[in-house]
């Protein structure tokens, strides 16, 4: 199926495709790939920092998930199970035991009281917004980028992120709070520059 077609399709629930694959319809797996490929690739990229390696790891993980699909017990979401596979594979690829989560105390988090972002961000166009957020996200460390991607783009809960990364739930919660503050801080600085 051409990759472009996936853009127009509304995906069904994961279990629908899993049942079809397990009953022998291998092509149904391409729908699962289409649904999760962006985030799987993003996770690999955040850890590996190399597009070629990230793509290879992402492909291998989809293959591994396909081969292990019978063992998937459906106790968690398929995406959580898949992201955990990707996370472990990417970490193994970097030959590190786990991603170097920088201690949260090392971050310098500014205290701010201004409400600038809420009003200021609405005043600029959507493309400028995207560029600004992209720039702000580049200021995050790898682990921060991974957590924020899993939380907002992957729509994973704190418990699911904890299962994927092996961090405690309270740690994930605190880190996300700090990352949001950091992003807000970066955006405020950028907005102020934009206004000037």
């Amino acid at each position: 199926m051409p990759a472009g077609l996936f853009f127009f399709m509304k995906y069904q629930d994961d279990s629908f495709y899993i049942d079809r694959v397990l009953s022998g319809d291998v092509s149904a797996y391409s729908m699962l790939i289409g649904k999760h490929k962006t985030l799987v690739y993003s996770i690999a990229l955040k850890i590996l920092n190399n597009k070629e390696d990230a793509e290879e790891v992402a492909q291998d993980c989809f293959l591994k998930a396909y081969q292990s699909l019978k063992t998937f017990e459906r106790k968690s979401k398929f995406s959580t199970w898949l992201y955990r596979i990707v996370y472990n594979a990417a970490i193994s690829r970097t030959r590190k035991k786990r991603i170097d989560f920088i201690p949260i105390d090392d971050h310098v988090v500014h205290n701010y009281t201004e409400d600038g972002i809420v009003t200021g961000i609405e005043e600029i166009g959507p493309e400028e917004q995207k560029a600004m957020v992209e720039k702000a996200m580049q200021q995050l460390t790898d682990d921060e980028g991974l957590l924020i991607t899993l939380f907002y783009k992957g729509e994973n809960s704190i418990e699911e992120i904890s299962n994927i990364t092996g961090l405690s739930m309270s740690n994930v919660k605190v880190r996300l709070h700090r990352i949001r503050k950091k992003l807000h801080d970066a955006l405020c600085v950028m907005l102020a520059k934009e206004m000037n």
């Binding site: 472009g4 809420v118 917004q129």
Partner: protein, 142 residues
């Protein structure tokens, strides 16, 4: 969490969600499906005859020992079963049987035959193990 923090977090969330995402190559799905097509189908491990025997024998031995203890013991309840007398002196019979088996296996011809049989058995086991490895390698090449 303060009210202004919640508002700020919501807008950060919305901005991150709408931000640019790195996409894999256009033929990503085709490449994965090709890998799936070429990869060997994982064969579920089958229980071998020996593993089945290995798991059954302990239960049979335990059951046999329990039966032996029960029928040779002097529990009053067993007298009601009226089969106890059938097993009276079972140990004497076992001793006699053991002695006759001992005589049988100590004879030259029988021990010679047993040696050949044991060697054949070992050869068959080795052959089974190696032929199984060859089959799995062949499946991996498909």
């Amino acid at each position: 969490m303060k009210k202004d923090e919640t508002g700020r977090d919501n807008i950060i969330g919305r901005l991150v969600k709408n931000s640019f995402s790195e996409e894999p190559s256009d033929d990503f799905i085709d490449k994965v499906m090709e890998k799936i097509r070429l990869a060997p189908t994982p064969v579920p491990s089958q229980r071998t005859y020996f593993s089945m025997v290995k798991s059954t024998i302990p239960y049979l031995v335990v059951a046999a020992i329990l039966v032996l203890i029960l029928i040779t013991s002097d529990f009053p309840v067993l007298n009601k079963l009226s089969v106890n007398h059938l097993f009276t002196g079972i140990f004497q019979h076992l001793v006699v049987m053991g002695k006759s088996l001992n005589n049988f296996f100590s004879s030259t011809y029988v021990s010679f035959g047993l040696m050949i049989g044991a060697s054949l058995f070992v050869l068959i086991i080795i052959d089974v193990i190696f032929s199984r490895k060859r089959i799995s390698q062949h499946q991996g090449m498909v």
